[in-house]
């Protein structure tokens, strides 16, 4: 029976190749600077929120679900957030953000991670559902991603976006996916 160990070093813990043929990583990542070493795999959940860069809005949610898969230093995070009925009680100020990402982004390269985000609005909202995804991007060393909000009254200048988020309405929902390099 051949045993292939290559350059593998296992320290006697529950990491390494399992009896099922899977690869178990440490529960706490042991980061490697080697470019060809895969040093982490992790899957889990997170709680997405809608916030702003200046002062936070006051929002209650009818639904918040987030899930992630971290493969090495790349994090893929999906999310679904829905504003509850009468859930927005104050608008706050500044750029709109998707907060609560499970890991902070790396400190280099502004705008790490790119993104699609799709918004659904309630059937009574202006323009109903958006067809096109919105852009969402993450700054350096951050766990909150920016998305642009524009007033639809500007009549076509801002494609893919039909509703001013200052008028978030009941049951507006946001779902999407973001990819980024972790710290």
């Amino acid at each position: 029976m051949p045993i292939y160990c290559g350059d593998l070093t296992v320290t006697g813990t529950a990491t390494g190749i399992t009896s099922s043929g899977n690869v178990a990583f440490p529960a706490i990542q042991s980061a490697s600077t080697d470019a060809n070493t895969l040093d982490d795999y992790e899957e889990g959940g997170w709680t997405p929120i809608i916030t702003r860069s200046g002062s936070a809005p006051s929002i209650s949610y009818s639904h918040q679900t987030g899930w992630y898969r971290k493969i090495g230093s790349v994090c893929h995070a999906g999310f679904i957030v829905q504003v509850a009925t009468n859930g927005l009680t104050s608008d706050g100020s500044g750029s709109w953000l998707l907060g609560g990402l499970p890991f902070a982004s790396s400190s280099t390269g502004k705008g790490h991670g790119i993104i699609t985000v799709t918004a659904n609005h309630s059937s009574s909202g202006y323009g109903s559902d958006d067809a096109a995804p919105w852009a969402l991007w993450l700054d350096n060393s951050s766990s909150a991603a920016v998305f642009k909000a524009w007033d639809a009254d500007s009549n076509g200048l801002h494609r893919g976006q039909v509703q001013d988020l200052n008028t978030i309405s009941n049951e507006d929902s946001f779902q999407g996916l973001i990819h980024y390099f972790t710290a």
């Binding site: 045993i3 899977n22 690869v23 992790e42 679900t65 829905q82 779902q175």
Partner: protein, 191 residues
């Protein structure tokens, strides 16, 4: 070079670290419930199709191609297909069917069409068509516990309300010969 192999058990198949230094997983996934265990890598192809949530349309294709890479429970899919002819339109939300793995299920509600996974989606229409190509990608999202992804369809005659989408495919004149769809999506699989 010192090789430490403490606690390694190799079960006699070809999985594990290969002599090339790669990592080979079992051909049939042995799913792990441990969050830090990478339990699968797989690459392959799939056959995308257009369907609807209530009753399926009937159409044939000029071409259909799809590729995927599954890392753990994360699936990356690309797709491209072109419609040849349509004999019936079916009903319900428009969807891409045939995803290679069932999406994770979960409990809870949300807005219309929410589901695991997301996505970019680009539609091209043939040159010379009334509406020409769309500039922006559409949104498409994977429905939980299915192998389908929903995309929204709106009519451009609503005067720009639905940006990034300039053509209705809800009526018999919407989809035309040689209309093509291509894009990619990613989602968490059920295992």
């Amino acid at each position: 070079m010192t090789i430490h192999c403490v606690n390694i058990t190799v079960t006699g198949d070809s999985s594990g670290v290969t002599t090339s230094g790669n990592v080979a997983f079992p051909a049939t996934q042995v799913s792990s419930g441990t969050p830090n265990t990478l339990d699968d890598y797989e690459e392959g192809s799939w056959t995308p199709s257009v369907t609807r949530s209530s009753s399926a349309p009937s159409m044939d294709y000029y071409n259909q191609s799809g590729y995927y890479r599954k890392i753990g429970s994360w699936c990356y899919c690309s797709f491209a297909f072109q419609i040849n002819s349509i004999s019936s339109y079916g009903s319900g939300n428009w969807q891409i069917g045939g995803l290679p793995f069932t999406a994770l299920t979960w409990t809870g509600g949300g807005g219309t069409g929410i589901g695991h996974g997301v996505i970019s989606f680009t539609v091209n229409h043939p040159a010379g068509d009334n509406d020409s190509d769309d500039a922006a990608p559409w949104g498409v999202w994977v429905e939980k516990n299915t192998t389908r992804a929903t995309f929204k369809v709106w009519n451009a005659t609503s005067a720009g309300v639905h940006r990034g989408q300039i053509k209705s495919i809800t009526d018999s004149t919407g989809i035309t010969h040689m209309d093509a769809f291509q894009g990619s999506l990613q989602y968490v699989t059920a295992y």
